[in-house]
Symmetry: C2
DNA sequence: CGGGGCTTTGAGAATCTTCAATTTAAGTGG
DNA sequence: CCACTTAAATTGAAGATTCTCAAAGCCCCG
């Protein structure tokens, strides 16, 4: 259901003698980047497709009036840089130190896709999955209260990241990024998290690493605080 | 940039002797549906792809707790029903009388796509475009104030619909649908529209047909009312 | 012409934002 | 490695916006 699954899928299907994704990875360049560094910029010619190898990144859009807004967070395994035109639609920036990404030359990838129907299907479904995920996210952002927004955000992030046994979510991004993404003020995000901590729904390992104690209450605040 | 363009693209490229989309349309069944009727339902086996021929529809998601939310409005030309799994991800319902849609058998379409790389590319880009549009919409929904949400919604709808010379937008959907979509209360939507009317930014032809008088002010409320 | 859904308007309560200040964490250079 | 500098997170209080509850008017359709 998520692009994050792509690594798992890859592993699961590796018994196939000739998985075309291997051909694709042979064309990729693996690159590091620092916290805050730009991986690609909106408006540039889209000569590459990308995938996060490790770390985390934010995908930003620029509105007409020049304001930047985060439209997605990218975790290891996530592809990005797709465009229906020749222009990169979004800017992507690393948000944690030690972020690595893979860069695929678009022209070569498209040639490969044309030659391998299975690869074509794979990428079509990749795009469909990204689309579903994006629409599913609108469910979260479309929530009305800060409690609901932050709660479903935490649950979403925990589902996207590899589940650690203690339900810890390593967020990586700052409160400012979360606020931007959820269309809330930083103060409200902070206050809401504090409130959830007080109510026993979450626990802090660090400011950016949170343990989920009551998942159901996060998804539906009615249950948590009466 | 929008899936709405697909008809225009089709026309523009019709000089080609064998546009593969023609092959695809030959497999389609054209079907009418009444206002409120369900075209497809979330959770069903995804045996078809669909396209709106005329009228308008709403795409709804069901959250875990059973609440329905509108994640997109579909206009003539828009494809839908894509899934990365075998399940239909969303429910789609007609919202105006006289809505017609096209239904494409998925298995046949996928066979055609495998056989025609150009068609494959077309659908890949279709999915990418839908993705961009979805993310662009998050810019709108991510706005903080009701003024900004409703304003950018009107502008978006006017851009998606065929531009009439007097900048009239035929919305089709009710205030309830708009409120659901923008995560606002019906009353706030109504009050905001009334306020915009008073400020001279819009004019009503009917309740669901609105003329845009000051597009810039709608996109950036700072300009409109000081 | 009656009914039901849709739209609008009002007023009070709840929520969120803004402005301001403090505390905590992180990064830098000596 | 520590002191220093800057960024991030938290908390408080006042003001603005939005939501909820309630009711009235409108309009299409049968």
């Amino acid at each position: 259901m998520q692009t994050t699954d792509s690594f798992a899928q890859h592993a699961a299907e590796s018994h196939r003698p000739l998985d075309p994704l291997v051909l694709l990875d042979a064309r990729a360049v693996r690159m590091p980047c620092k916290r805050g560094a730009e991986i690609c910029r909106a408006g540039e010619i889209a000569r590459f497709w990308y995938r996060i190898a490790s770390g985390m990144a934010r995908q930003c859009a620029l509105s007409a009036d020049g304001k930047r807004q985060i439209v997605d967070f990218l975790a290891p395994g996530d592809f990005f840089g797709f465009s229906s035109t020749d222009e990169q639609p979004f800017t992507v920036e690393a948000i944690v130190a030690g972020t690595w990404f893979l860069r695929y030359p678009r022209s070569q990838v498209e040639q490969l896709i044309d030659a391998h129907p299975r690869l074509s299907e794979r990428f079509r479904k990749l795009a469909f999955a990204a689309l579903s995920r994006m629409q599913a996210r609108m469910l979260h952002l479309g929530r009305t209260t800060a409690q609901q927004k932050v709660g479903s955000f935490l649950v979403e992030m925990s589902e996207r990241s590899a589940q650690s046994p203690d339900h810890e979510v390593r967020l990586g991004m700052t409160r400012y990024d979360i606020a931007d993404y959820l269309a809330l003020s930083v103060e409200t995000v902070s206050r809401t998290l504090t409130e959830m901590k007080r109510a026993g729904l979450i626990r802090y390992s660090e400011a950016r690493a949170i343990q989920i104690l009551d998942r159901d209450a996060l998804e539906d605040p009615e249950l948590g605080y009466s």
